[in-house]
């Protein structure tokens, strides 16, 4: 009885220690992140963007879709902070509301793509053999598909739209994460703690997802963050060509599409400079933030 008590207190003590040490490590990491000026700048810009976009109705009184034929193509002024487009729609409002769609597409696609990639990568890396070979081939086939063609096929099946774009990005975007997680799993499953779990008769699923996965998760989160800028650019690219979201939905890409009219390209540069700069600034900020995050959470991957 007495012995039991002693061991109990010992375990609680070590758990307490682990907690204390954990918080210390956490604090150290946070401090390291805030010492990286570029990363802090990135975080700040991303937060400002998010606040502006989520609180769009507070920051602008204009409706992003309401045309105003009395104020077509005016430059930036006090009334219209960033000017208006060829239909007289306020560009600042369109940047904020359009940003919601652009960023939503990027974040959701990145999240779904990483989830698919992680699950398939875990299965492939842990079991190897035939399943793994099939998955690797599947990944090769997917990365050979020209994206434009896929867009055409999906659009023809279910019509153009925000969610269809997300579907395409998620279906094509899991390959990077798959390769990463797969190679991590192949390396880790030889480690002693995995062998111990196997010896205790733990189920494969449990070993994969509750033992190995947590140690790979930081890498995945960093990868997920670093993928977001790519999706913002891809959405903009497809919408710029006219194959992305429908033209009447404001996104940064559909706004850039205005520059395809040569009169706007020549005479009204603010129409395409504004969305272009918004994309560049957002992408830049997420890149800086992601770099900082990686330095702190996953220093091996530099």
């Amino acid at each position: 009885m007495a012995e039991n008590n002693v061991t109990n207190t010992n375990t609680t003590n070590s758990i307490d220690n682990a907690r204390k040490y954990g918080t210390k490590l956490w604090k150290k990491k946070v401090r390291k992140f805030f010492n990286n000026r570029l990363a802090v700048f990135g975080l700040l810009v991303v937060v400002i963007f998010l606040v502006l976009m989520i609180g769009a109705p507070i920051f602008t009184k204009w409706d992003p879709n309401a045309p105003n034929f009395k104020a077509k193509l005016v430059g930036p002024n006090a009334e219209h902070l960033l000017g208006t487009d060829s239909l007289g729609r306020d560009l600042f409002a369109r940047i904020l509301y359009g940003g919601r769609t652009s960023v939503l597409i990027a974040v959701v696609s990145s999240f779904i793509g990483s989830t698919i990639g992680t699950i398939l990568g875990a299965i492939g890396g842990y079991f190897e053999g035939f399943i793994d070979k099939c998955l690797v081939r599947l990944q090769e086939i997917v990365s050979c598909f020209p994206q434009l063609i896929l867009v055409l096929i999906v659009v023809a099946f279910i019509g153009p739209g925000t969610w269809n774009l997300i579907l395409i990005f998620a279906l094509t975007g899991w390959t990077g994460c798959f390769r990463l997680v797969r190679s991590e799993f192949i390396a880790r499953k030889e480690e002693t703690y995995v062998k111990v779990c196997e010896a205790f008769g733990m189920s494969n699923v449990k070993i994969m997802f509750s033992q190995i996965l947590p140690s790979v998760l930081t890498t995945v989160i960093v990868q997920l963050t670093m993928n977001i800028p790519g999706y913002v650019m891809q959405e903009a690219g497809l919408s710029f060509l006219g194959f992305g979201v429908p033209m009447n939905t404001p996104t940064w890409g559909t706004m850039l599409n205005a520059a395809k009219a040569s009169s706007i390209l020549i005479n009204n540069p603010h129409c395409w400079l504004v969305p272009g700069l918004a994309i560049s600034l957002f992408v830049l900020a997420v890149n800086f933030f992601g770099d900082g995050l990686r330095d702190v959470m996953d220093p091996r991957q530099q």
């Binding site: 081939r137 090769e140 086939i141 990365s143 050979c144 598909f145 020209p146 994206q147 434009l148 063609i149 867009v151 055409l152 096929i153 023809a156 099946f157 800028p229 650019m233 903009a236 690219g237 710029f240 060509l241 006219g242 194959f243 850039l256 520059a259 395809k260 390209l265 020549i266 540069p269 395409w272 400079l273 272009g276 994309i279 560049s280 600034l281 992408v283 830049l284 890149n287």
Partner: protein, 314 residues
């Protein structure tokens, strides 16, 4: 080694086949009717459409059409645009030189500048060149290349009036250089940023290896250490990146071609996609898939050739 190459080649053939089959079935089942596009609204009657479909062989089972298409490819008949009537040979293949012209120039220029500045900034760490290189890399990473193209047009064509903003001079039509400068810059500059950063980091990695220290302690002149020991050993990852660039370039050139009204494959493709032109889209997909697969094959091969451990291993 020979066994490995043969095995890779066989897998490649199978994969090209699978990819084309998937695209073929998917395109057929989209339900978009190319015949409707072809006849136009005025001439469209059920009977005419049916007759047209029969004539084009669109009523046969998918699998029959698929193998007929492959048969034709081997015979050198690449098909015809259903909606616009041009043959793939004239309408698509003939446009490749224009696309290759800007992409290869862009690849060449970005490689030279990227490698040079990357090496210099590894040599003189934290110098002005290093910061400049990093700045360009950051900008190139965060700007879509067609947006960069728009800015170039705004500055050099509209404000300064120095360079033409659109079009391509056909062979023999005078100096082609002015029309080339802006599109090539728009593709090359964002690319070389990445390459710079990559070259710099790989070289710094290699520079910290033991054998470099050994070379230095043997008294080999510093420039020789850099060229013979560091540069040569950092080339393998850099070559990998370079080959990948080629596919990115051709994919990314679609938007840039649109901006500069460059008569390349990109324009044909965007039109074919909107008109759901089976054979044009199929041929493009086939071509891109073969290219992507060959490039990843090449990367592995070069990797094996450059790395004696892999070469001697199996």
């Amino acid at each position: 080694m020979a066994k490995y190459i043969v095995r890779r080649l066989i897998t490649m053939v199978i994969m090209v086949f699978v990819i084309s089959l998937v695209i073929f079935i998917a395109l057929q089942s989209t339900g978009v009717d190319p015949v409707g596009q072809m006849l136009g609204v005025d001439n469209y009657t059920k009977e005419a459409a049916e007759e047209m479909r029969e004539k084009l062989g669109l009523n046969d089972p998918i699998i029959v059409q698929f193998f007929r298409w492959w048969g034709n490819i081997f015979k050198g008949e690449y098909g015809k645009s259903i909606a616009l009537g041009y043959t793939v040979k004239d309408g698509l293949i003939a446009k490749w030189p224009a696309t290759l012209e800007i992409t290869l120039y862009a690849l060449l220029i970005s490689t030279v500048i990227g490698l040079l500045i990357g090496m210099l900034s590894a040599f003189w760490q934290n110098s002005i060149i290093d910061y400049l290189g990093r700045g360009i890399a950051v900008l190139g990473n965060s700007m879509p290349e067609y947006f960069f193209a728009l800015i170039l047009i705004q500055i050099f064509s509209i404000k300064l009036g120095l360079l033409p903003s659109a079009g391509r001079i056909p062979a023999g039509g005078g100096s082609r250089l002015p029309n080339l400068i802006l599109p090539v810059c728009a593709l090359a500059i964002p690319l070389c940023g990445n390459l710079m950063r990559y070259t710099r980091n790989t070289m710094l990695d290699v520079a910290n290896q033991e054998y470099v220290k050994l070379a230095r302690s043997k008294g080999i002149p510093e420039w020789k250490v850099y060229i013979k020991h560091i540069f040569r050993n950092s080339m393998r990852p850099v070559i990998t990146i370079l080959l990948f660039r080629l596919t990115i370039l051709i994919g990314g050139s679609v938007a840039v071609e649109t901006v500069f009204a460059w008569p390349g494959v990109g324009q044909v493709l965007t039109k074919a996609i909107t008109a759901s032109d089976y054979w044009v889209v199929m041929f493009y997909t086939l071509f891109m898939a073969i290219m992507m697969l060959s490039i990843s094959f090449l990367i592995d091969l070069i990797g094996a050739l450059l790395d004696p451990r892999v070469r001697l291993g199996k």
